[in-house]
């Protein structure tokens, strides 16, 4: 049995470190087909450094710190290692700070018996200072300046500070000696040498704090760095304490008959927490993933927030939605690919990156409605009404003759707009920007239409004007009625992937399952579609392919033309439950649970289509974690909530043989729900305020504040489902 993969991520709300467990801050991982170095420190959604290494010289012989490692452990978001070099023992701790975008790296040096020794520590890092989205670009020129307690590196508006508790004896630039002061020019490495005279029985601590992101915030972080340097071994506790408090506020889910799912729930919940980020300027959200999507991607955020709501973090969900709406395009912004009402692809306290995706904007009306149903916060929902209206207007302006929203041409439009501006022109010939943004799915991809229908439905419920609401409902109804025939696959049980020039595009992708989840098909037809999707050209034992292996364009290593994506597996699970095939839904959930278990807290983005091997894959992706959680609550438990009443619907889809399950601490509006199923008794406890209407599978009851409501329900007999 192979060892579980090393978890390379340490993070807090403000900072992250990627390391490989060898003892230095290095982490090589395959990316886009080549092994690439992702080790380093990240802060405020900016990659601050590449690898950060330390050499230890005892009596004149330099050795890499990593070479002497004899033990290591991870404790929460801290990583500790012990290294031995003859009589010298070095105990290292690396941890992100809780509230500042910085990381502390602490070495405790101890000498065994004998004469005092000279120990020289040489720290060296590669400055990066660019948001991760600008993939593959490391700036060439930097500005450096030294101060008494730290070294500052800047590059345009980005910057980092390296603080130390032991002033360096020497500084190095590009591996040559540097006397300090100011420097401006090409920089590949920055080094510092720290000399310690060490006597037996008198351990010495050498500590660095490296942090930053936006240059304008560097001075604000100085006090946090000083506090971390003075804190001794306690730095990093804050992040762990915050995580523990958050975890304690989330529901406890028990499946005594399915410990694998129970463990997967905890892993997915904890994984999602690790993506939380508060990068500054009042922004909140979750980064899409690590290593190379460590930014707030609004599409990815939209997939994560339903799970965040089920986990009870209403405030974070609302802050995240508000953060995105802050950047809703007020007018056309061709250079960024934005049109009025559109939401951006990414947000940050620094740059707002491109707009120009066909789907991102469409997710948010439903998110506002979901937030209302979980929190009951009518004021927040009403405050978002203008933004939701602008989203509808944005999408209506993109409709084709049949009313379908058009996708495609976004990247081309940006290239056209910027052609006259840049001296060096760069581009990606991506004709289209759906969730599979490297695939050409023009002109009306099916999942974009499902999103549009859901956006209209949600906007109708949020709309305060009855006439406008009726119009929205009618438009949604018209499209929902038209979709099954418009996307019908001739002589087959499946659905076309898109409509182009009025013709259906007959490529089998899992995206079509979104139409089943949206309830656009009657039960038998929905089952046919799900059964077709689960044939082995689309389904594998490790998840759902992005494209049928029978399609001529299928390539097992192509990102969106054959690779297996866990989010697609989540779609299939969701659709299977929606179609009334719970056994298939459970099997798909278990497929995902197996990935979580084998990946030791990770959740890969994607795998090869021909074998269960991560390829070109972030090791932790929110879009792989969150749908599992959402399906668990909404389909396996069959929960629907509306805190404005308050009301809870409960229709479990547990398989034959299960007899017990529970949820404790499920937040609903101002109260919490506890659900206990000990077959056949199904009991809902409610902390209030007011009475809770509980819709059980066979009856409706009311649970008073501080009381319970009971009913009976049994899992189906074998063969029944």
């Amino acid at each position: 049995m192979s060892a579980p993969p090393f978890d390379p991520l340490l993070r807090s709300l403000g900072a992250a470190v990627l390391l490989d467990g060898t003892g230095d801050v290095t982490y090589a991982r395959e990316c886009r087909g080549a092994v690439t170095e992702w080790g380093g420190v990240y802060g405020q959604l900016v990659r601050l450094t590449g690898p950060w290494t330390i050499d230890v010289t005892v009596d004149g012989a330099p050795r890499a710190l990593a070479d002497g490692r004899i033990a290591s452990e991870r404790v929460g978001e801290r990583w500790r290692s012990v290294h031995r070099f003859g009589r010298l023992t070095v105990s290292q701790e690396i941890a992100p700070l809780a509230e500042a975008p910085a990381v502390v790296r602490r070495l405790r040096l101890a000498a065994a018996d004998g004469d005092p020794m000279n120990v020289v520590l040489t720290s060296e890092f590669v400055p990066f200072l660019l948001p991760v989205l600008v993939e593959g670009v490391r700036p060439v020129e930097f500005r450096l300046a030294t101060a008494e307690t730290h070294l500052r590196v800047r590059e345009r508006g980005f910057g980092l500070d390296l603080h130390w508790n032991l002033p360096p004896s020497y500084l190095f630039l590009n591996r040559g000696s540097w006397r300090g002061g100011h420097w401006e020019g090409p920089v590949t490495t920055v080094g510092s040498e720290h000399v310690v005279r060490l006597a037996a029985g008198a351990p010495t601590e050498v500590c660095w704090v490296l942090g930053g992101g936006l240059e304008r915030d560097l001075d604000r972080n100085l006090s946090a760095a000083a506090a971390a340097l003075a804190a001794g071994g306690e730095s990093g506790d804050g992040a762990d304490a915050a995580d523990a408090a958050w975890r304690a506020s989330t529901p406890t889910v028990r499946f005594p008959d399915a410990p694998d799912l129970e463990a997967a729930y905890a892993a997915a919940r904890d994984g999602l927490r690790r993506l939380y980020v508060a990068p500054g300027d009042g922004l909140a959200g979750l980064v899409a993933g690590f290593p190379w999507y460590s930014a707030i991607w609004c599409r990815d955020l939209a997939w994560m927030l339903p799970a965040v709501l089920w986990l009870g973090d209403f405030e974070w969900a609302e802050r995240s939605i508000a953060s995105v709406f802050r950047f809703q395009a007020p007018a056309a912004l061709p250079l960024l690919g934005g049109t009025a009402g559109e939401l951006p692809m990414q947000i940050a306290p620094g740059p707002v990156f491109l707009y120009g995706t066909s789907d991102t904007t469409l997710y948010f009306p439903e998110l506002v409605l979901r937030s209302l149903r979980h929190s009951g916060d009518r004021a927040a929902a009403a405050a978002h009404r203008p933004e939701v209206r602008r989203i509808v207007d944005w999408a209506r302006a993109r409709r084709g003759p049949a009313g379908w929203v058009t996708n495609g041409g976004e990247a081309e439009a940006i290239a056209t707009a910027t052609r006259g501006v840049a001296r060096v022109r760069l581009g990606i010939d991506a004709p289209d920007t759906t969730i599979w943004d490297s695939a050409d799915r023009r002109d009306h991809a099916i999942d974009v239409q499902v999103l549009w229908i859901q956006a209209l439905r949600s906007a109708a419920e949020l709309e305060g004007d009855p006439t406008a609401a009726a119009d929205l409902t009618a438009e949604a109804g018209h499209l929902a009625a038209a979709l099954p025939s418009a996307f019908a696959w001739p002589d087959g049980p499946y659905l076309a992937d898109s409509i182009r020039h009025g013709q259906t595009v007959l490529r089998a992708r899992p995206n079509a399952l979104r139409a089943v989840s949206a309830g656009l098909f009657e039960r038998n037809r929905a089952r046919e579609i799900v059964a077709r999707a689960l044939r082995d050209d689309l389904a594998t034992p490790w998840g759902m392919r992005t494209l049928s292996a029978e399609d001529p364009a299928y390539r097992p290593h192509a990102y969106h033309e054959g690779q297996v994506w866990t989010i697609a597996t989540g779609w299939a699970a969701d659709a299977a439950y929606a179609a009334g095939v719970p056994a298939a839904g459970l099997s798909l959930l278990r497929t995902i649970a197996t990935r979580f278990r084998e990946e030791n807290g990770g959740a890969n983005e994607c795998y090869r289509g021909d074998r269960p091997e991560p390829y070109n894959s972030c090791f932790l992706l929110g879009m792989s974690l969150a749908p599992f959680l959402t399906v668990l609550f909404e389909r396996l438990w069959g929960l629907r909530v509306d805190a404005t009443e308050p009301r809870l619907e409960l229709e479990p889809a547990f398989p034959a043989g299960w007899t017990r399950a529970s949820i404790d601490g499920l937040r609903l509006g101002g109260g919490r729900v506890a659900i206990r199923w000990d077959a056949p008794t199904l009991e809902v406890g409610w902390s209030g305020p007011g009475a809770l209407t509980v819709v059980f599978p066979t009856e409706v009851r009311r649970a008073p504040a501080g009381g319970t409501a009971r009913s009976e329900w049994r899992a189906p007999d074998p063969g029944e489902s």
Binding site: G33, E37, G136, R138, T188, V352, A417, G420, R425, A558
Partner: protein
Amino acid sequence: MAPDRVGGWLSLLRQGLQLDVDFGTHSLEAMAWIAEVVESSIYRRGSLYRTADGIRFVLDNPPLRLGAFYRLGLQVNGTPVAPERWTIRAGSAAARTAASVGAASPVELRAGEPVEVAASIGPLVGTVRVRLELDSVAIPPRVWMEFDDEVRAEGE
């Protein structure tokens, strides 16, 4: 400044002012940083030199995408250069012809690793337009970059 460039900058200014009003100056500033760093960190300006039988130039970073590439294309002044007539050297790897690049032997490009391109296309003078195209082994859409620069003589 060419008319299309003037128009582009005016458009940028107008949109920039719009962003400044709506999102605050931070977003505007930061977008300008990104544009500058991308422009200055990929093609090494002034690195386009005349060689005995053509040109050479240097990139300080891969254009927009890193990783392995199975097909490369080069155009000079709009004319494709035959793959056996130009070479690429990435990082510390040896120079190889574009014709030798394939799915089984891709070129690997990494952040911060310089890339040197040399093409045997005969003598060139004045300002030329160079376009480099790359096809990733992992993500289908082609990535490209294009720049205009003056060909310099060696030692200039």
